[in-house]
Each structure stands twice: as structure tokens, then as C-alpha cells.
């Protein structure tokens, strides 16, 4: 991965900066007639600096290398579980989804000992429920 990590991220930031400047900011920032600093001044100048820095990085990358692809894939799997968890929580609520998310994560990390699984999947969510709903009188997501 020598030299390439910075080139990849530099290209991305170059593209992001240009996209912001030409597409996103003109469409999602209102213009005003008066005032001292227009709403798009700050984002516009920042997006140009971002694009410039991205370009510079492509030409002058450092020796930085990222972790392996396998590690990225594993993280993607965890992120998928968490995303699905948030979506499911919006449908069924924390009380049902929280333990399921905890179970999935613990199994993925490799936990197989029943006592720890029970502690993480049953005891911990129950404790959170007790503290938030019973003690604090607030609602769980």
C-alpha cells in the first residue's frame, strides 16, 4: 500500500472540495442581500482550501499506510449491525433491539462463555432500562 493511501484520500478530498463548491453549496446555501459576511463565504473558501490540499497531497503523499482490507471489511460488518440496530430501534424500540445488538457484537468479538453473554445481553440492557426509565423517568430510544 506504499504511497497509495494518501493518494486515495487526497483524490477524494479534491473531489469533495470541488463538489461542494460547484454543486452542493450553491444549491443548499441561501444568498442574502445584505449583511457583512454572506452565508456561503465560509463554506466556499473552506471547500476551495480542501480541494487544494487534496491536490497537493496527491502530488506529495506521505509514507502512511492503512490497515489491511480484511480489517476494513470487519469494521464494515460491525457498522452494518449498528446501522441495522438503529433502524430496528426506530421500529421496535431499545428494549427489544438493544439486547439483540449486544448479542451480535459479543458473538462477533468471539465471546462464547455463557456467563459473560448473559451479563452483556440480559443484565446490562436491563440495568440501562432500570436506570433510565425507572430512576431517571426518561424514555429509551
Amino acid at each position: 500500500m506504499r504511497f497509495t493511501a494518501d493518494r486515495v484520500s487526497g483524490t477524494l478530498f479534491l473531489a469533495l472540495g470541488l463538489a461542494l463548491y460547484f454543486l452542493i453549496i450553491p444549491n443548499y446555501v441561501e444568498s442574502v442581500t445584505d449583511g457583512n459576511i454572506s452565508p456561503d463565504m465560509m463554506p466556499n473558501s473552506l471547500s476551495l482550501i480542501l480541494a487544494l490540499c487534496g491536490a497537493l497531497l496527491v502530488f506529495k503523499p506521505t509514507l502512511h499506510s492503512t490497515q489491511t482490507m480484511r480489517s476494513f471489511a470487519i469494521t464494515a460488518a460491525y457498522v452494518f449491525i449498528l446501522t441495522a440496530g438503529i433502524y430496528a430501534m426506530s421500529l421496535f424500540g431499545f428494549v427489544y433491539v438493544g439486547p439483540a445488538v449486544a448479542l451480535a457484537i459479543m458473538l462477533m468479538i468471539g465471546e462464547r462463555r455463557p456467563i459473560w453473554l448473559v451479563a452483556g445481553v440480559v443484565a446490562m440492557p436491563a440495568l440501562i432500562w432500570f436506570l433510565v426509565v425507572q430512576v431517571l423517568g426518561r424514555a429509551l430510544p
Binding site: 446555501v29 452565508p39 460491525y78 440496530g85 430501534m89 462477533m108 468479538i109 465471546e111 430510544p141
Partner: protein, 503 residues
């Protein structure tokens, strides 16, 4: 001014047994709740306020002071033990705290944080109690132009944290500032880059971004490393050396200048509303690193790093009360919560507070001092407990931390929407750090961005659109010169460290 008898009456109100118990309860609650990943010190206060409705004013405020101060200590715990700071200011503590904990010295690291936090806190409390009135007048003279210059100075100090690549440091900062642009613009209140989500109108919720970028992204890294293998979240290294688990007097005393500098920086920035503990913690850290004889040892478990950050961010809270009590201006979210508690109990912070409610104010001061002692004492026990908790297997620690962050962020923001933003920023933070961009710079830029843009807009309005008029303010000129000098000085120091490491 204020009668001695009123001062004495105030202190004697504070030192009653009921009050002592409530401060103790507050400190325990603050340390505990503040340390839970995803909840943090501000949330601890917000949770505690409704419980004070039924209490008498002095007890209620003492209790909240306890929660607040306990929270300051508690906030450092997840940063040090798990590298998952819940607030941006605790991220500075994690820089050296976590490496030290990983070397098998979690107790030493957390205790150093406790001692320097209380040192900084006590320093700023004493400043508050003795010279708050003149300091408040000075703070008032810092107008938008001076504040803008101070922000520029803060950004220049970031150069001290840039690491090897200036370009990548700059990208991290620009990205943080760009993300901070989301929300209403600071002058005309037009919605900016909110894509139809009105929840974003006031900006991205700080807890979502901070916890996502700093805590969850770290948990993602660690989970991907430990996939399929269960280890304890933190390893104890067995050793016969008793000094491993404690901070010796020599170590504490060796950090005295670092802590003093941190406390002074924290007190000054805390007295200026709106700058906040994040800038203080990192400024103190950058100065400690740059002035050290061995800067390359920073980031690898140097006690000075912990001392610098904790003394500064704790000093901010006491100093925040300077503009709050004398002028009625809250300097931070935590301070705004204290004002709300004051209002509930019929106190009106401002110029007449000392005259009208002197007894209550001195009661508050008494409670603050009492809370500092209790914090020290409770901390000694509490930290052992936390270190034990964190030595449980990673599987349960990470899954529980994630659930707690979900619940905590949902409570602190607008429900699951805030949680979704947290996850987005967790992924962003994960990718940024994988590709070698500094998350710390990103988060400071994000945090300071809106204030910076606002003070620029204000300065433009005040100078009729001509910023060159800033030369009329000696303070602004001095700060700007200082910014240029420190920027290049930090860059030179960085280059020197780099060279030393390569050879």
C-alpha cells in the same frame, strides 16, 4: 463591599451536615455518571437538575456543584482507560492517558488525572472567590475583535498537534470547520447545508459528533483488531513496584509548572465566555509538549500530558462562574445549566447578586471547596472500581459501551436522529484516522468553527466591514503577532522532533 458576617454565614450554611451529604452524593453521582461512556459530565448535570426542584436553594446548588465537579473527574476515566473520550476536552487527556494505561499503569494514569484536575479546579476556585470582580471587568473588555484574534491564536497553537504532515493537518482542520458550517449561518440565520433536516438548524449536535468521532470510531478500530479473540479491555501488568499504581509526590511535584500553566490557561479562557474547555485543554497540552525537554515522549504516556490537559479543562469550570456570577453570562453549556438552576431557586446572576444574595454566593463558594476535597477522596475509591470494571473482557465492555452511547446520545440530542448522526461520524472518524488524519484537530476545528465565524461577522459589523481597523486594539494586535510566532515556532519544534525520531 460584602460584610464578613455574610461571608461567614454563607460558609457556615455550606458546611452543614445535610449539605455535606448532598455534595457527597453529587460528587459520587457526577463521577459515576460522568465516567459512563456516552453520558459524560454535561449530561450528568442535565439529569440532576430536576432532582433539585424540591431542595432548598443552598442544598440544591451545592448538590449541582458536586455533580459538576464529580463529572469533571469522571469524564477523564473513559478517555484514559479505553481511549474513548466523551467530550472534546477529554480527548487531550486520552493522548497520554491511554498509552500509560496500556503500559499496565491505568491507576497511575487516572490518579494523575484526578490530582491535576483537582489542582486546576482549586486554583480557579480560589481565583473566583478572591478576584472575580476585577477579572470580570477585564473579560468585558475582550470584544469580538479580541475574541476573533484569540481564536486565530488558538488555531495557530493547533500547529503544535499537527504531527508529520502539514497538509494532512490542514485537511483535518478544514474538514472540521466545514462540518461546523452545517446549521444556521451566524449572521443572517439562514439555514445552511441542512438538506431539509430542521433538527440540524442549530448545527450538528455536539454530543453526536464528539462521541461518534472520538469514542465510537475508536471502538470500531479495537473491535476490528480483536475480531474472534476475547481479551480483557485493559491489561494489568503484575509488578512488585508499588509506585506503578500510584502517583508519587516526586512525580506530582515534577508536574507543578505544567499544572500551574494549565490552571492559568484554563482560568483565563474560562473567564472569557464562549471559548471553553476544549481550547484550554489543547492549548495547555501543546505548550507542555513544546516546552518539554523531551517532546517526543508526549503521546506515549507522559504524565505531563495528562497533567496539562486535566488541570486546564478543570480550571475552566470554576472560572466559567466568574462571568456567570458577576455578569450573568454563562460561558458554556454546563454554566447555562447552573444559571437555569439559579433561576429555579430564585437567584438572578448579575451585578447585584453579591449584594442581594451574598450569603448564598458564599455558601456556593463553601460548597465548591468542600466538593474539591470530597472529589479527591471519592476519586481514590472510584477510580479503583472503574479500573476493575474495565478489566472485564472486551466483548462485554464494547457491547455495553455501544449501548450506553446509543442511549446517552439519544437522551442528549433529539433521539435516534442524533444516534444516526453519531454513527455517521463514527464511520467518518474511523476512515479519517485509518488514513492518517488527526481526529483531535478535526474535533477542535469543529468545536471552534461556529464561534470563530460569528466573531469574525461581529468584528466586521463593528468595524464597518474594514477588518484592518483591528490595529486599534492592542490586545488583538498582540494576539495576532503571537499567533504568527507560535505557528512557526510549533512547526519548527515538530520538524525537530520528526528529525530526532528518524535518526
Amino acid at each position: 463591599m460584602v460584610d464578613l458576617s455574610i461571608i461567614l454565614a454563607g460558609f457556615s450554611d455550606a458546611f452543614s451536615l445535610t449539605n455535606l451529604l448532598f455534595v457527597l452524593f453529587g460528587v459520587v453521582l457526577g463521577q459515576f455518571v460522568g465516567a459512563v461512556p456516552g453520558i459524560g459530565p454535561i449530561m450528568a448535570m442535565a439529569i440532576a437538575i430536576p432532582f433539585t426542584f424540591a431542595l432548598s436553594p443552598i442544598v440544591a446548588i451545592s448538590f449541582l456543584v458536586g455533580v459538576n465537579k464529580g463529572g469533571l473527574v469522571g469524564g477523564a476515566v473513559p478517555a484514559i482507560l479505553m481511549n474513548t473520550p466523551g467530550t472534546p476536552d477529554a480527548a487531550a487527556t486520552a493522548l497520554d492517558g491511554y498509552p500509560l494505561a496500556k503500559q499496565g499503569k491505568p491507576l497511575k494514569a487516572t490518579k494523575m488525572a484526578l490530582f491535576s484536575s483537582i489542582t486546576g479546579d482549586t486554583f480557579s476556585d480560589i481565583v473566583l472567590i478572591t478576584v472575580s470582580a476585577p477579572l470580570a471587568v477585564l473579560a468585558l473588555k475582550m470584544g469580538p475583535i479580541e475574541i476573533a484574534a484569540l481564536m486565530i491564536f488558538t488555531f495557530s497553537v493547533l500547529a503544535g498537534l499537527m504531527g508529520s504532515s502539514l497538509i494532512k493537518g490542514l485537511i483535518a482542520a478544514v474538514l472540521g470547520l466545514l462540518v461546523a458550517c452545517i446549521g444556521s449561518d451566524p449572521e443572517n440565520f439562514t439555514p445552511r447545508l441542512i438538506f431539509g433536516y430542521w433538527d440540524l438548524f442549530d448545527g450538528l449536535p455536539l454530543p453526536s459528533v464528539a462521541i461518534g468521532v472520538l469514542a465510537i470510531s475508536e471502538i470500531l478500530h479495537r473491535m476490528s483488531e480483536s475480531f474472534g479473540r476475547v481479551r480483557p479491555a485493559i491489561e494489568f501488568v503484575e509488578s512488585d513496584d508499588p509506585d506503578q499504581d500510584r502517583v508519587t509526590w516526586a512525580e506530582y511535584w515534577g508536574c507543578r509548572f505544567t499544572m500551574l500553566r494549565g490552571a492559568v490557561i484554563g482560568t483565563i479562557l474560562g473567564a472569557l465566555p464562549g471559548i471553553g474547555s476544549t481550547a484550554a485543554a489543547f492549548m495547555s497540552y501543546a505548550f507542555a509538549k513544546a516546552s518539554s525537554k523531551d517532546p517526543s515522549s508526549f503521546g506515549k504516556g507522559n504524565l505531563h500530558g495528562i497533567a496539562a490537559s486535566e488541570s486546564a479543562n478543570s480550571a475552566v469550570m470554576g472560572a466559567n462562574l466568574i462571568p456567570l456570577l458577576t455578569l450573568g453570562i454563562p460561558g458554556s453549556v454546563g454554566a447555562a445549566l447552573i444559571v437555569s438552576a439559579f433561576m429555579i431557586h430564585g437567584m438572578q446572576p448579575g451585578p447585584l447578586l453579591f449584594e442581594n444574595q451574598g450569603r448564598l454566593v458564599y455558601g456556593l463558594f463553601g460548597a465548591m471547596l468542600m466538593a474539591n476535597f470530597l472529589n479527591l477522596w471519592v476519586g481514590q475509591i472510584g477510580l479503583r472500581l472503574w479500573v476493575k470494571v474495565v478489566s472485564a473482557p472486551e466483548s462485554i465492555i464494547f457491547s455495553s459501551a455501544l449501548l450506553l452511547c446509543f442511549v446517552g446520545v439519544a437522551m442528549a440530542t433529539s433521539g435516534l436522529f442524533g444516534v444516526a448522526i453519531m454513527l455517521i461520524f463514527a464511520v467518518l472518524g474511523y476512515l479519517l484516522s485509518s488514513f492518517g488524519y488527526s481526529l483531535v484537530i478535526f474535533i477542535i476545528a469543529f468545536f471552534l468553527g461556529p464561534r470563530f465565524e460569528k466573531s469574525i461577522a461581529q468584528s466586521l459589523a463593528l468595524t464597518n466591514g474594514d477588518l484592518t481597523q483591528a490595529y486599534q486594539s492592542p490586545v488583538a494586535v498582540a494576539l495576532l503577532i503571537l499567533s504568527v510566532v507560535s505557528f512557526f515556532w510549533f512547526l519548527k519544534r515538530n520538524a525537530a522532533v520528526e528529525k530526532e525520531q528518524n535518526s
